[in-house]
């Protein structure tokens, strides 16, 4: 059982929805980013998605593109992302951390070495956007074998024929991308997403979390109410990008979290 499994079991027992927050590792620099990360659980975040910056984030909109650019300009590397996780773990051994990004920086490091280091640093799950089920032998299967959850995205184009393949080697939770598009795109309406989530839940016992485009507490509540929780990324990254003080960033996170938790 990973920290992710434990967290969702706990939330379920409490009858609570999950609030998942995304930040870009090292945005705009390691210290600021680590301070934000450390503050997330206190602001109500149940699961942290930590972005690994990449020069060519093909699935991301401008907000997260710019965050990755800031992080890289600030000297962020894979080593430093892992250091950030280690530093976080010295004060928090419970909050699950999911690393999110693209395959090339992992491939460049070597999959086995990466998985060993990720596990040792305290990473619980991976979301790698450009690894569909067709490429499971690359990282998904080795990650599961190493005890790290591999969380897959399901999308509006994942039809009934394809869904079993998407769910097959997924663990931790299923991330339902509510719109066809890139991060930061317009939010989907809960009324439209509800049936899609229900369809996925018929085929899996894993929690289904919905993301993309959620940017208000109300939105977070509506979406969380038709799923097992929701993810907010760009709306938080935007605050960091605007150079807001830590307290303000965390207040915004707390507001979004309270939305999800009121569902």
């Amino acid at each position: 059982m990973t920290r992710i499994d434990a967290k969702f079991a706990k939330l379920k027992a409490e009858g609570k929805k999950a609030f998942v927050a995304y930040i870009m590792g090292g945005d705009p620099d390691l210290d600021t980013s680590l301070a934000v990360m450390k503050g997330l659980p206190g602001a109500g975040v149940d699961v942290i998605e930590l972005g690994m910056p990449f020069t060519d984030p093909m699935a991301d909109g401008p907000t997260i593109q710019l965050a990755g650019q800031r992080a890289l300009d600030g000297g962020m590397t894979m080593d430093k992302v892992l250091d950030m996780v280690r530093a976080f773990r010295t004060g928090d051994s419970e909050t699950p951390i999911v690393l999110m990004g693209y395959y090339n920086p992992i491939y460049a490091r070597g999959v086995d070495r990466f998985l060993a280091e990720a596990r040792e640093a305290g990473i619980d799950g991976l979301i790698v956007v450009d690894l569909p089920p067709e490429e499971d032998s690359e990282l998904c299967l080795p990650a599961q074998a190493a005890g790290i959850n591999f969380i897959r995205l399901a999308t509006p184009t994942t039809d009934a024929k394809r869904l079993p393949a998407v769910l097959k080697n997924t663990s931790g939770f299923v991330y339902y991308v509510s719109v066809t598009g890139i991060t930061g795109a317009a939010a989907a309406q809960a009324a439209a997403v509800g049936p899609e989530v229900a369809r996925i839940k018929q085929s899996t016992d894993l929690p289904v979390i919905v993301g993309f485009g959620i940017n208000t507490a109300e939105n977070a509540r509506d979406i969380a109410s038709i799923a097992d929780g929701c993810v907010v990324g760009s709306a938080i990254v935007k605050e960091i990008g605007a150079g807001k003080p830590l307290a303000e960033i965390l207040a915004r996170v707390a507001d979004l979290a309270s939305g999800a938790h009121s569902a």
């Binding site: 990449f54 093909m58 491939y107 450009d130 184009t157 795109a185």
Partner: protein, 410 residues
């Protein structure tokens, strides 16, 4: 053949879309169903005579194929060695080889009921070809082009607009081809239901690399027949040379000859300011290592941490940090050789062809020509080199004028 266990170099890709370890389908889940649909549609079209009948008709009457295979007498004499033939892809409608592939993809898009076409472009040749064929079939067309390229390829931007396409300048990254491809992928993932992504080279997720190669292979098939007409039955070229951006004009020339062991095959990458640790070049095979970008595994210019580096080349069409996966494989198994030439060498070859043959080449094939000027003098007079003259140089005269210190302002 050179490699143990390889009976044919022409059978790839395999069912996973791989050429050896290269290729594959490294795309987000949103795009996967569409990519599988496209693969099925292409597999069907490939064996459908009506699909090829329509292609042949358009190639002949709209593009002007076959393109001539031209013996270049004065260039040959000047170099004093091998006989040099030019495969005149620059005479195609729209001025380059790019339209060979665009026609195939647009016919597929029509079969799939897609109404909106997107494309990325570097030099603008693929964008112009796509805008042209979209106009021909009344399809909406959006072309992503790096802001830096919009500037250095202004004539092509205007052409695309005249043809009714929307040109979107891309400012992310350094504003070149790689960034245009990122934005095209972002558009595709957003508009996946009605949009067809017309990729301009032998890269991207499976089935693109193999499919684009198949559409471009008309170049090599014609060359094979035309050389025999001119040099006698059974005569094969001794050496094939083509420039490589993503590698489509090269694959098109090379592929039909891969299983002819006597044919030496050379791809020429853009060496920019020189292939060294400054990394101011686009020679992915000579200066890169395997990685995953834009849907496929291939050789990439990248740093130790797997971050992609910006290439550098005088030629917008070669300014890409990757290379098609089939080239990566041909390189690793040793069936083809890959070399690089610098901006300066390409500029010299550009001028040489203008003066000796009355042909203004694009900067991309000028790289191939530059390698010919090094190789031909070392070879006997009965050795036959075929160079892919992939495009004409009209689009490049402003860039060349600037480098030669000629003031174009009127």
């Amino acid at each position: 053949m050179a490699e143990d266990g390889i009976n044919s170099f022409m059978t790839g890709p395999d069912e996973q879309g791989r050429f050896g370890i290269f290729g594959g389908r490294f795309v987000s889940e949103t795009l996967m169903p569409l990519i599988l649909d496209l693969e099925a549609e292409y597999e069907h079209a490939k064996t459908d005579p009506s699909f090829w009948a329509e292609m042949d008709d358009l190639w002949k009457h709209y593009v002007g194929r076959p393109s001539p295979l031209y013996f270049a007498p004065r260039l040959t004499e000047h170099l004093g060695g091998a006989k040099v033939y030019l495969k005149r892809e620059e005479l195609n409608h729209t001025g380059s080889h790019k339209i060979n592939n665009v026609l195939g993809q647009i016919l597929l898009a029509r079969r799939m009921g897609k109404t909106r076409i997107i494309a990325e472009t570097g030099a603008g040749q693929h964008g112009v070809a796509t805008a042209t064929v979209c106009a021909r079939f009344g399809l909406q067309c959006v072309v992503y082009m790096g802001a830096h390229d919009v500037e250095r390829q202004a004539p092509n931007v205007f052409r695309m607009r005249l043809l009714g396409a929307e040109v979107v300048p891309v400012t992310s990254g350094r504003g070149t081809l790689k960034d245009a491809m990122n934005d095209a992928l972002r558009d595709w993932v957003t508009n996946v239901r009605d949009t067809f992504y017309c990729i301009g080279t032998v890269a991207g997720p499976h089935p693109y690399p193999g499919m684009v190669r198949d559409f471009q292979s008309i170049i090599g098939r014609e060359t094979r027949a035309q050389l025999q007409e001119q040099e006698g039955p059974g005569r094969l070229p001794d050496t094939l040379i083509a420039a490589i951006g993503g590698g489509s004009n090269a694959m098109g020339l090379f592929h039909p000859f891969l299983d002819d062991p006597s044919v030496r095959i050379i791809g020429v990458e853009a060496g920019g300011k020189g292939v060294d640790e400054r990394m101011e070049h686009c020679a992915s095979l000579t200066g890169g290592r395997p990685g995953v970008l834009h849907g496929n595994r291939t050789y990439l210019l990248q740093d130790a941490d797997g971050q992609i580096l910006e290439g550098f080349s005088i030629s917008a069409g070669l300014d890409y940090p990757g290379i098609g996966p089939e080239h990566a494989w041909l390189h690793d198994v040793g069936r083809a050789e890959y070399v690089s030439v610098t901006d300066t060498e390409a500029l010299e070859a550009f001028q040489l062809l203008c003066k000796l043959e009355g042909i203004i080449p694009a900067l991309e094939p000028s790289h191939a020509l530059a390698h010919v000027t090094k190789l031909a003098p070392t070879l006997p007079k009965d050795h036959i080199i075929v160079v892919n003259l992939s495009g004409r140089g009209d689009k490049d005269i402003f860039t060349v004028a600037k480098h030669l210190g000629f003031d174009m302002k009127v």
